[in-house]
Amino acid sequence: MKIKNDFVTNSSSTSFVGWGVTCDGFSDLPEIFKKALYEKCREDYDNINFTFEEFKENLGKYDWSEYIYDVIKDTHLQARTRPYSDDVYIAIKPSNRDVQDMTINQIIKLAEKELNELGFNNGVYYMAEAWYDG
């Protein structure tokens, strides 16, 4: 018989599923996206007067998740940053109500279009990520 690994029950695992892209951290985001993040951040922190160049230099040091959600809020995309790591996932989720009547091809094209506008040019793929929140 095949040997199966034991599962450990835990309610603190999280997953993110969809058609989209993954970035190895905030620094890996496209320039257009970084600029949009920068603008959102400046809107929120009027008293912070740093340049876009300074912002980029500090991208790896802070968690910009909340601004990512702001940047994509008018699209069909959803984002998730993985806790304790640098990974950023941006995708159209299968559960999105607006895409239930679309073919998978149409959903992929829509994700590509919206991601292209945000500076992502590397193509869209289906992702099913899971992690342990600890």
Partner: protein, 137 residues
């Protein structure tokens, strides 16, 4: 702005995403058609290993320690569905995952076809839903 937390490696989580049903992980409660499909998969596997195999009755009784859950993945994959057993909760999930849907089909069409397929297999689809689960291996 929030200061970033330290990075902790963890790559041992698994996710399951599908439109489908959740059932008890109990062989007895499976529809007869599905029980037979699982048994056939078991026999196929034993033959591939040049090993003896149990009769359907012995396999169903489970007295010889054969675990039917090993064959769930392959059985449902053959009919373009996905099935997985979540041992921690004693639950089996069966459905269609987003990446199994042909590119020229809508999600709605795929959901309806899956519902019909599950009904034909003898499952109740009263609680057909979007399932998104993850667990630590």
């Amino acid at each position: 702005m929030k200061k970033k937390l330290d990075y902790v490696t963890n790559s041992s989580s698994t996710s399951f995403c599908a439109w489908g049903i959740s059932i008890d992980s109990c062989f007895e409660s499976l529809p007869e058609t599905v029980k037979m499909m699982i048994y056939k998969q078991y026999v196929e596997y034993r033959k591939e290993c040049d090993s003896e195999y149990l009769s359907y009755e012995e396999f169903s009784d489970g007295v010889e320690g054969e675990d039917w859950t090993w064959f769930v993945d392959e059985v449902f994959e053959k009919i373009n569905l996905t099935g997985t057993v979540f041992c921690g909760g004693g639950v089996t999930y069966i459905g269609i995952s987003p990446d199994q849907i042909p590119e020229n089909k809508t999600i709605l069409e795929a959901k309806n076809e899956t519902k019909q397929k599950l009904q034909e297999l003898g499952f109740s689809v009263d609680k057909f839903e979007y399932i998104l689960e993850s667990w630590r291996d």
